[in-house]
């Protein structure tokens, strides 16, 4: 009964809260008012039901705090330890993705290209946000730097895709390091705002420096990648780009995983945990931070070059803060620090709206909501980062563990 009144109150409150924006719609030119009372009914029913879920979830969270040990996700657990299982899952996925352009339409191939671009972007950002714990809100700017590097080199000097790909990555990485220098001393929230500001500055410069960048109308007629000097048809080039992205995505996954598990990756994690202890343990804070930014933004640069080659037309509107926020939400939803999580996050963001049409209109609002809810109920994301397994050479330990099992 008490629960009911609570929910009733919540429902009434939300009816009040959403009344003007959801119900009223005015046309200030024709001076007419439209009243959409049905929306209020939806709102009332929706908030009534959701308030139960909300309280249940909060209670569960409290309970989980009392007993922190939670069962690990069986699937991801097996993925690391069971070798045959791992190989068959990855092999199957690879075969599926390799055959994809021959199975599905060009339109859908494009969607998968954009999915894998987000995977690359997300993995890059994951190094900065997930592993090193630096909240970075300007990732799209480096995506843009990569894209414009190729677009402008191609436009002014006729430089081809394959030459521009490494250049784009290097330029973005350098730009990341240049940004990192002044922000070294900043922590947490200030860092977030400065990177946001920097991202917006980059976009505004691209927009206003019309002589060089073509201003808001951008750069068009960017060359598609050549296949050993042969020009390809539009559809052929699209398939080709698909394979480039696929290879790039796989390279990124492997590279980021290796970085994470290396001496450098450990230093990044230590930086996230405690900067002062990190220095006291002999890690050069400056170096490591610069590396985090450079390593993260380089991937954004690669993705940018590929993006420019895929669309053959870019303008600053593709690299707004909104884009950065989307990439961030992929990382947050997927699981900060977890590569598999980022891939899943990109899949949710890019593929779900395409294949569940009804869902596409609500894509961003659901994602925004999910960001808030994730932080409250599952801050580690869909897939918590998996700890690395180390080979320990200790006969005693093997004996005791064997005894346990």
């Amino acid at each position: 009964m008490q629960e009911l009144t609570k929910s009733l109150k919540v429902s009434l409150w939300f009816m009040f809260l959403t009344f003007p924006l959801m119900v009223v719609r005015v046309n200030t030119i024709e001076h007419t008012v439209e009243w959409r009372w049905m929306n209020m009914v939806y709102m009332a029913v929706g908030s009534f039901a959701l308030s139960f879920v909300w309280r249940w979830a909060l209670r569960r969270k409290e309970m989980a705090k009392a007993a922190p040990e939670r069962p690990r996700n069986a699937f991801t657990e097996r993925l690391g330890s069971d070798k045959r299982f791992t190989v068959s899952v990855y092999g199957g996925l690879f075969a599926l993705f390799a055959l994809m352009p021959w199975i599905v339409s060009t339109y859908q191939t494009n969607i998968f290209i954009s999915f894998m671009l987000y995977v690359i972007l997300g993995l890059g950002l994951n190094i900065i946000v997930g592993v090193a714990g630096l909240l970075f809100l300007g990732h799209a700017a480096f995506y843009g730097i990569g894209a414009y590097t190729y677009a402008l080199l191609n436009h002014y000097y006729g430089i081809g895709f394959w030459t521009a790909l490494p250049i784009g990555g290097v330029v973005a990485a350098l730009a990341g390091v240049v940004l990192a220098f002044p922000v070294l001393r900043l922590r947490g929230d200030y860092l977030a705002i400065v990177t946001l500001g920097f991202g917006e500055i980059v976009r505004l410069v691209l927009e206003n420096w019309s002589d060089l960048t073509g201003g808001p109308s951008g750069v068009s007629n960017i060359s598609r990648p050549d296949l050993f000097g042969h020009h390809l048809s539009v559809a052929g080039a699209n398939t080709y780009v698909y394979y480039i992205v696929l290879v790039m995505a796989i390279v990124t996954i492997i590279a980021v995983q290796r970085l994470k598990d290396s001496r450098i990756g450990r230093a990044l994690q230590a930086l996230r945990e405690d900067e002062i202890a990190c220095q006291a343990m002999g890690i050069d804070r400056v170096n490591v931070k610069l590396m985090a930014f450079g390593l993260g933004t380089a991937w954004a640069g690669f993705a940018g070059v590929i993006f420019a080659a895929k669309t053959t037309f870019i303008n600053p509107a593709s690299f707004t803060f909104f884009e950065s926020a989307i990439i961030l939400s992929i990382v947050v939803l997927g699981g900060m620090g977890s590569n598999l999580g980022v891939i899943l996050g990109s899949a949710f963001l890019v593929l779900m709206p395409e294949y569940l049409r009804a869902f596409s209109e609500y894509r961003m609002i659901l994602f925004a909501m999910a960001m808030v809810l994730m932080m409250i109920f599952r801050p580690q994301g869909l897939i918590a980062p998996k700890g690395r397994k180390y080979i320990i050479n200790d006969p005693d330990l093997a004996a005791t563990e064997g005894g346990k099992a």
């Binding site: 200030t28 909060l58 900043l186 002062i276």
Partner: protein, 302 residues
């Protein structure tokens, strides 16, 4: 030197600055109490503008006089924005009170995106024309070309709001409790101050000021869309940082400073890079003087 032009820029800067200051107060108060950059604060301002537009639209159809519409729209916008601010805090921030620094910030970004998309879905993603609600004052006629009545209302209105807020914080019991909570939340709670209530009130006050700011600027500019909150939010946050975040007079000074700086920069240098100035100031200040014009740098305890 063209003095007329100079005065025009000064007054224009003053108007902008007043609005920045109004929004900056919300950032600074919230930061002062829970050390969170409330990313969604700009969206509250945007919702204030939208609520004002809807009220004005409805009342306009029924033929109310402009001044009455302005007052009613302001009251309704304040009520609604307070309600939004309050609810937002309860949903997105309160459960994260003890969750470190990154989580609430991400939650705030999520909230900001949520409110933007909510407005897109509930209303529209296009620009909407906003009616001029502020009547023409005759006594301003001689300078109306550089300082219109809406400028006048914005500057005077925000000055009054800020004065009222300062008095409230300084002399009322609630204001004292707020200052105590900002200094040391745990201790304030031990002394019997209901910190949750103080935090709610902080959000309500900040949101009301943002609502007024949103309504006034919308009427001044003449059009709104769902994105206005983002830019205004970042600029107001810049103002708060300039003045030293957490400091109330600092936010006002920072707002005016930023408004004037922007106005002169666009007037004398180039209007193309209008927003770049603000962002550059923000970045430069955060890097070289994160404690603001007046603040002192804190020492981290090891």
């Amino acid at each position: 030197m063209d003095w007329d032009y100079f005065f025009e820029l000064t007054l224009g800067g003053l108007t902008r600055g007043s609005i920045y200051a109004m929004i900056a107060l919300g950032y600074t108060m919230v930061y002062g109490i829970i050390e969170l950059i409330n990313f969604a604060h700009g969206e509250i301002y945007m919702i204030g503008a939208f609520t004002g537009l809807l009220v004005a639209g409805v009342l306009g159809v029924y033929g109310f006089p402009a001044l009455a519409i302005l007052v009613i729209a302001a009251v309704v916008a304040v009520i609604y924005c307070s309600a939004y601010g309050y609810t937002m805090e309860k949903i997105a921030y309160k459960p994260l009170r003890n969750a470190g620094r990154l989580s609430p910030l991400i939650s705030a970004i999520g909230m900001s995106l949520f409110l933007q998309n909510y407005v897109i879905l509930a209303q529209t993603s296009d620009f909407l024309p906003f009616p001029a609600l502020i009547p023409e004052f005759e006594f301003l006629d001689p300078i109306a070309h550089i300082f219109g009545s809406s400028d006048f209302v914005i500057v005077v209105g925000s000055a009054l709001c800020m004065a009222a807020l300062t008095l409230f914080i300084k002399y009322t019991k609630m204001g004292k409790a707020m200052r105590a909570t900002a200094q040391n939340r745990k201790m304030a709670m031990l002394l019997g101050i209901d910190a949750d209530r103080i935090i709610s009130i902080t959000f309500i006050i900040g949101s009301s000021l943002a609502a007024l700011g949103g309504l006034l600027i919308a009427s001044h500019v003449g059009q709104i869309n769902f994105m206005i909150g983002f830019l205004a939010g970042v600029k107001a946050f810049t103002a708060a940082v300039l003045g030293g975040i957490g400091s109330i007079p600092g936010a006002v000074l920072g707002g005016l400073f930023l408004g004037l700086a922007e106005s002169f920069a666009t007037g004398y240098i180039s209007s193309d890079y209008e927003d770049v100035f603000a962002f550059t100031l923000l970045v430069v200040f955060l890097i070289f003087r994160p404690s603001g014009i007046m603040g002192k740098a804190p020492v981290e305890k090891v």
